[in-house]
């Protein structure tokens, strides 16, 4: 039995917080270097056009402006904007760091002005005169697929970036022929903006003496930035240090390596001075990747007992004006995850990724899986409506049973573990589903539009193995963890994950404290600095704990094993006789023992050499996932729609989630609550809107509707625990779960409220106007 209380599994408050609550943390824009310059970008006002002339003379004449660069200065000297998921030749686009002859979206950088301070840099940007001949733009996704549509790239034969055709699986056709009924849905999963509260920011410093670049950037993936910038600028990786200092949220939009992150280092090298750029919120909405932007045309075949037999159709994904880092690959997760937690027998879904004259899309919290969950959950509700069965019952009848795991879906995904019935049963009980339905019936009788929504869902986390990695990425799906024990017994951990709010400085310190029987405060967790951290990958796809944490766990185990061997020698015992009890290494059946700190001291003092061992006590480990984890959940909510205004009030929301074993429930709750509200934001109010000419109509937070505190009731949380066998922590990943469940749950509730009034379809966001119009139309 452990002597010390174990900290893993406890609600331990974060060690990150003291610096953050006192305003003492340093985000990129907070850093100042001697002689530092500021950059401001001149961006395209047109969605499509030919650049006739860029006149920088007035800007250069302005006092305080140091330099102005356009593509002509870069030609032949730098590479393209980094991209991992490159479309095939003929569909790929060599996207330049600054616009080369043509502009393809509003906000595309054309020139950059470098000045002594940020105000002068912006003045200088206004001085730059750009003559553009507008060309026809294509914004609408379906229009972009028409043969006569304007092409985003004139030398491409169409606007398609990636096409995975239907397999014409005969099984699917057979199931459709045998079905009692089919439903057909066309669903818009609207484009949304990630809106991390800190925008992107870059500070580049080329140090001419040691010939090294230090690049501070607000990123989720410092190691990938290092590799990408090295490749783009033709610099050796060993000449580059990338630091992700405090990072103010990412949500996927800080995975892509952007033109600005490549350009500023190049400029710093030209000018031999540090250069900084912090995007404005308008630049963030114009020029940081968006998410979602799908249209799904889906048909489902079902039996009258509610059984979903097969799905077929098309996923159309808007990749925007250029292939972003992972942009063209995101939609490929959608068909993969479309079976959700259901035993769909066969699927045949085409994927078409389409270029449009809009900002590129890329990963956004969930990245392809929320789109899948939304569609299959809408299908479930349609089957319920068509068969007259209860929405919960339809889902339950289609669940993959607990006994079937590990389960290979019709799309080839191997689900590690699951007990969907358990999570659903807990949610039904907590929500008091029969009573809720009874209340709803009473409210309906009084003419009120009350709806109950349900979503049961699963998703894919901690991607791996590395066999699926792109050679361009030059890094697999593994993550690194290093544990270094100092002579005092204090511990330094480094992780290749790059947390930016997830709390892994705390979670990993908990793990080390338990492993070595030391105080958490005697553990330092470092991340986000490529000179300090062993090569790693970063934080995305709910991999921080699942993959990064496992690597740390493995490194801790390696250190414990060596410490145990050292202790055995010093205690004059055989290694197999020694075990660690949470506080000391003890020899079985004797009183002889050594604390971890005593072993650490001996390992460094080395006055008693240990045969077959090196001095010191540290280990590096890399965890290569052999498979992916599939956390899941059951969410319920209740809404009331005001029939006169269309306004939807969210009255109640309950989430029962299962992410396997939890290291710190306080952090896990934070991930879940934040994710739920983010998903509700998409369902309720968020929407990136371009007009038909490609002008962005939602270019400030006055126009882009973010979820705010007063819109929500208290979210109720409960959980079940179904560990995974794929990692020793038993953790399944939690970062994206809430976002994936809450969007369909809310829409399910609103449609449930409106069905008696004849409203059968709505597309998000379910703003009052849209709901009111649907009610008015149905009444006609």
């Amino acid at each position: 039995m452990p002597v010390r209380p174990v900290s893993v599994g406890e609600r331990i408050k974060r060690r990150e917080d003291p610096r953050l609550i006192r305003g003492l943390a340093s985000y990129t824009d907070d850093l100042k270097l001697h002689g530092g310059l500021h950059a401001a970008f001149v961006r395209s006002d047109y969605a499509a056009g030919r650049i006739d002339k860029v006149d920088v003379s007035r800007a250069l004449a302005r006092k305080g402006v140091v330099a102005v660069y356009t593509f002509d200065d870069l030609r032949g000297k730098v590479g393209r904007t980094p991209c991992v998921a490159r479309p095939e030749p003929g569909r790929d686009a060599e996207h330049p760091l600054l616009a080369d002859r043509f502009v393809r979206w509003v906000g595309q950088p054309i020139a950059v002005v470098i000045a002594e301070d940020r105000y002068i840099a912006r003045d200088g940007a206004l001085d730059v005169a750009v003559d553009i001949t507008p060309l026809p733009a294509v914004v609408d996704l379906k229009r972009a697929l028409e043969p006569a549509a304007p092409r985003v790239y004139a030398d491409h034969k169409d606007n398609i970036a990636l096409h995975i055709p239907r397999s014409m699986n005969p099984e699917v056709e057979k199931l459709f022929a045998e079905a009692d009924g089919t439903v057909r849905l066309e669903l818009v999963n609207q484009r949304v903006a990630p809106v991390s509260m800190e925008g992107r920011a870059v500070l580049a410093h080329w140090d001419e003496g040691p010939q090294r670049l230090t690049l501070w950037t607000s990123t989720q993936v410092p190691h990938l930035v290092k590799q990408s910038v090295a490749q783009c600028l033709g610099l050796a990786e060993i000449r580059i240090r990338v630091i992700a200092p405090e990072v103010g949220g990412g949500f996927g939009a800080k995975i892509p390596v952007y033109a600005e992150e490549c350009l500023l280092p190049w400029i710093s090298k030209q000018l031999r001075r540090p250069v900084k750029w912090s995007e404005t919120r308008t630049e963030n909405l114009l020029g940081t990747t968006h998410g979602r932007g799908h249209i799904h045309e889906i048909e489902a075949a079902y039996r009258k007992n509610g059984e979903l037999l097969a799905l077929r159709g098309r996923v159309i994904s808007d990749v925007g004006a250029y292939p972003s880092f992972f942009g063209a690959s995101i939609a490929t997760f959608t068909p993969l995850m479309m079976p959700g937690c259901y035993r769909v027998k066969a699927l045949d879904v085409e994927v078409v990724c389409v270029y449009t004259n809009t900002m590129a899309t890329d990963a956004y919290r969930g990245a392809g899986r929320p789109e899948a969950a939304y569609t299959v959950e809408r299908v479930m509700d349609e089957i319920a409506a068509a068969t007259g069965l209860d929405a919960v019952e339809v889902r339950r009848r289609n669940f993959i049973p607990k006994s079937a795991f590990p389960f290979t879906t019709a799309t080839g995904a191997v689900y590690d573990s699951g007990d969907y019935e358990l999570a659903l049963a807990k949610a039904l009980e907590r929500f008091d589903y029969p009573a809720s339905r009874a209340r709803q019936a009473k409210a309906r009788a009084e003419g009120k539009l009350v709806g109950i929504g349900v979503a049961t869902f699963t998703e894919i986390c901690g991607l791996g193995p590395s066999t699926g990695a792109s050679p361009i990425q030059r890094t697999g799906s593994w993550e690194s963890g290093m544990v270094r024990v100092e002579p005092t017994g204090n511990v330094v951990i480094t992780t290749g994950a790059s947390p930016h709010g997830q709390g892994q400085e705390t979670a990993f310190a908990q793990m080390a404290a338990d492993a070595f029987g030391i105080d958490m405060n005697d553990v330092e967790v470092m991340h986000g600095d490529t000179d300090v951290v062993t090569h790693g990958v970063g934080t995305f796809g709910s991999r921080g704990l699942v993959v990064g944490g496992t690597a740390v766990h493995m490194a801790l185990a390696k250190v414990t094993a060596k410490a145990s061997r050292i202790a055995a020698h010093l205690l004059d015992a055989k290694p197999e006789q020694v075990s660690f009890d949470g506080e000391s290494f003890r020899v079985a059946g004797s009183e002889r023992k050594m604390t971890f700190r005593q072993v650490a001291e001996a390992a460094h003092l080395w006055n008693v050499p240990i045969p077959g061992e090196e001095p010191g006590l540290e280990a590096v480990a890399r965890f290569e996932p052999t498979g992916t984890t599939f956390p899941f959940g059951a969410h319920f909510c209740e809404v009331e729609v005001d029939p006169d205004t269309g306004e939807v009030a969210l009255l109640r929301y309950l989430a029962v989630d299962d992410a396997g074993k939890i290291v710190n429930p306080l952090l896990a709750d934070g991930q879940r609550l934040g994710g739920i509200i983010q998903g509700l934001g998409q369902a309720m109010c968020e929407e990136v809107r371009y007009d038909e000419s490609g002008q962005l109509l939602t270019a400030t937070l006055m126009d882009y509707a973010m979820p705010k505190a007063h819109m929500f009731p208290r979210i109720e949380l409960d959980s079940t625990c179904t560990p995974t066998h794929l990692n020793p922590l038993g953790a399944k990943g939690i970062g994206e779960l809430g976002t994936i469940g809450s969007t369909p749950c809310f829409v399910s509730a609103v449609l449930d409220a409106l069905r008696p009034r004849g409203v059968k379809h709505l597309d998000m966001p379910l703003k009052a106007e849209r709901v009111w119009r649907a009610l008015a139309e149905a009444a006609r």
Partner: protein
């Protein structure tokens, strides 16, 4: 233009361009980078500071408008790590922050709320932070943080020190 302001209890005199935004004055001229910029349009509240004790958004005020006034930024709330403001304690205890970027603004808004209304209801707290956007927490733990702060403040007397 020359301006005189008191920031976190210290008198400051600086020459600023008339167009200098208050948030840039605090961050660039005084080096108080705890006040963040999130939207430049008075929507997100990351830049909230106290002007004569009232919460204001410093991204849409000029530094010259603060001339002759008293300002408090997040750095001025606690003397040191051992003397945190009740709202800071609340945010820490209740996990009221993740990435931390909106946090200084949230803390300044809610500390002003508690100064006016020491025992706000959940609805009042949610309305008070309507002008502060957080993308990470979903707000619930921020509400808990403010309730926690109200509780501590009521046991140790007046909140702010």
């Amino acid at each position: 233009m020359k301006i005189s302001v008191e920031v976190n209890g210290q008198a400051q005199e600086r020459d600023v361009e008339p167009r200098t935004l208050l948030v840039h004055f605090l961050r660039e001229n005084l080096g108080l980078t705890g006040t963040h910029i999130g939207c430049e349009t008075t929507i997100c509240g990351a830049c909230t500071v106290h002007l004569d004790g009232r919460a204001v958004k410093s991204c849409t005020l000029f530094a010259v408008q603060a001339d002759g006034h008293k300002l408090t930024t997040v750095e001025g709330l606690a003397r040191d790590a051992e003397h945190l403001h009740p709202v800071q304690i609340g945010f820490w205890e209740e996990h009221g922050l993740q990435c931390g970027y909106c946090t200084p603004g949230m803390i300044m808004t809610t500390s002003a709320l508690l100064a006016e209304n020491p025992n706000p209801s959940e609805v009042e707290i949610r309305h008070a932070i309507e002008g502060n956007i957080c993308r990470c927490t979903g707000y619930q733990q921020i509400v808990n943080a403010v309730q926690h702060a109200a509780k501590i403040a009521s046991t140790i007397g007046k909140g702010a020190r």
